[in-house]
């Protein structure tokens, strides 16, 4: 399992490092920047307006304008643009492969032919309508993904969870989400430690089949451990007075700056709805 460049080892360490790096890194959320200084409730509400606009509009110029606004917001919030672009464009090939590329062709989007060519004996035609549809789709995806990523990296995760409450998500779901977040890290650590413990005992030369057995056994162990933890955490909650519906304290503070930003976003939303 642990030979150099082994698939399982690479997947395991890669997944763990991705989880820790992307979910738990709060470096950007702690920086002093424009979006970080806004009340998270206002920030989330205005981003929701932008997302709705992205969803409704069929005008690529409006989408490009919103994308430019998003990049500008990232810039004034002291986000490294290269990091931000990498983080957002990573989703594009996935969507393009399954949706945007097929939509280019006349089979899925009939219309005026733009280019025709043969592939393995089949004649394929890209249409004008297909191309503009695919462009619109990719721009819509990248713009909405960018706004969501920007919101998540400029807001501390616990503030995001609290914000969910203003969108009337039941507290029990919000709390469950918070716990998932909390315990994913614990489990990532358990996986890492288990992996190191195995490696220290078996060395590096293990047949891949044996490696698969070890991984399967670890998945079973982790499942059992999570079940145990579930019971224990519930007891810890009961012990501190939990009686079915958790109570929370919201301590956000609304500032004049938040009002200015909200008015700006609302005007933009209205204008784009009217003229876009």
């Amino acid at each position: 399992m642990f030979k150099k460049s082994n698939f399982i080892e690479r997947s395991l360490t890669g997944a763990l490092s991705f989880i820790k790096g992307s979910i738990f890194a709060e470096g950007y959320a702690s920086r002093i920047g424009f979006l970080q200084s806004l009340d998270p409730r206002i920030k989330a509400a205005t981003f929701l307006l932008f997302l709705l606009q992205i969803l409704f509009t069929k005008n690529i110029l409006v989408l490009l304008y919103l994308y430019a606004l998003c990049l500008m917001l990232a810039q004034v919030s002291r986000i490294d643009l290269l990091f931000f672009l990498k983080r957002t464009w990573v989703f594009i090939p996935l969507f393009s492969l399954f949706i945007a590329i097929p939509a280019l062709f006349s089979i899925f989007t009939p219309g005026d032919p733009l280019v025709s060519f043969s592939l393995i004996g089949h004649k394929l035609t890209i249409t004008h309508q297909g191309l503009s549809g695919a462009e619109l789709f990719v721009t819509r995806v990248i713009t909405s993904v960018s706004f969501v990523v920007l919101l998540s990296i400029t807001t501390k995760h616990f503030e995001l969870l609290k914000v969910l409450r203003i969108f009337k998500i039941p507290q029990v779901f919000v709390m469950t989400l918070g716990m998932c977040y909390r315990y994913i890290y614990l489990f990532a650590e358990i996986i890492e430690d288990t992996y190191l413990a195995i490696k220290s005992r078996v060395g590096t030369l293990v047949h891949y089949k044996r490696g698969q057995h070890l991984v399967a056994w670890n998945i079973a162990y982790l499942w059992h451990r999570s079940y145990q933890l579930n019971e224990e955490v519930y007891k810890a909650m009961l012990s501190r007075g939990y009686a079915g519906e958790p109570a929370v304290l919201t301590d956000f503070r609304f500032k004049p700056k938040d009002l200015v930003w909200f008015i700006f976003a609302a005007i933009m939303f209205t204008a784009m709805r009217k003229y876009g």
Binding site: R182, L229, E232, K235, S239, R240, G241
Partner: protein, 268 residues
């Protein structure tokens, strides 16, 4: 009679109905007492604390809390449950279990919020308590970012903020460095001097005399093997050896290897 907080009579408990964890337990605990429960791993110490906290209930025998028999159904009653949870607080052995909220602040205020304390009251207690424990800087951090010592202090804070009359602590000093252990002992003594009842399960014999007047020794047969004053129990080397609480320690004085029973009653 009013002074009796807990009374356990012939209590038996087993997990899944087949793994005994407590056997024929008889204990009476009075208000303001400082009690330690010591014993080897798996002797039932944690189970006892969970039972005193109303999280599990006897298969056989009776447990009385504050003069009333404690049954599972009673804790379904909102009023009774709220009063009981306000009066009894448990610090779990594993802080990762106790710290389930996204931030330290939310974890600490979880208890009083559930128990209906007002926002002003909670904020005042939070400020005082975190200053006393020296954890104010940790409030906006996630529990997973803390060291084990910090996590344990936060776990204690989550219980102390409720202001319980009875404080149950499950191995509060396990795995801690000497200075953090010292802080926790001081904290327990402070709580005790303010009239709280302190019941601690521990392996650390060196803290037992300081944090308890009475010691219960649990055996591997899940029964109480002995109880008495802390000085009496700690002097009884045979009893401690029999229950895996001391070990033979060999060390060298110049060229002579010196062997003796070792109790861990002092740091060295």
């Amino acid at each position: 009679m009013d002074d009796i907080i807990f009374e356990l009579k012939d209590v038996n408990f087993s997990y899944l109905g087949k793994y005994p964890a407590l056997w024929d337990i008889n204990i009476t605990i009075k208000r303001g007492e400082k009690i330690s429960v010591i014993g080897a791993n798996g002797s039932g110490k944690s189970t006892l604390l969970h039972m005193l906290d109303g999280l599990i209930f006897p298969d056989k025998g009776i447990i009385r809390a504050f003069g009333k028999e404690l049954r599972e159904g009673d804790l379904n009653d909102a009023g009774f449950s709220r009063n009981f949870r306000k009066s009894v607080g448990l610090v779990f052995q594993n802080p990762d279990i106790q710290l389930f909220c996204p931030t330290v602040r939310e974890d600490i205020i979880f208890g009083p919020l559930q128990l209906g304390a007002s926002k002003i009251e909670i904020e005042k207690c939070l400020e005082e308590l975190t200053a006393m424990l020296g954890i104010t800087d940790l409030l906006d951090r996630s529990p997973h970012q803390l060291s084990i010592g910090e996590r344990r202090k936060v776990a204690i804070a989550t219980t102390l903020i409720i202001g319980p009359d009875v404080l149950l602590l499950d191995e509060p000093t396990a795995g801690l460095d000497p200075l953090t252990t010292r802080h926790i002992i001081d904290l327990l003594n402070l709580a005790s001097s303010s009239g709280k009842t302190i019941i601690t399960s521990t392996h650390d014999l060196h803290i037992v005399e300081e944090i308890s007047d009475t010691v219960y020794v649990f055996g591997s047969d899940k029964k109480i093997a002995a109880f008495g004053s802390s000085s009496e129990i700690l002097k009884d080397e045979r009893l401690l050896m029999e229950h895996n609480l001391v070990h033979i320690h060999a060390h060298r004085h110049k060229d002579i290897v010196h062997v003796h029973p070792h109790q861990h009653t002092d740091h060295h």
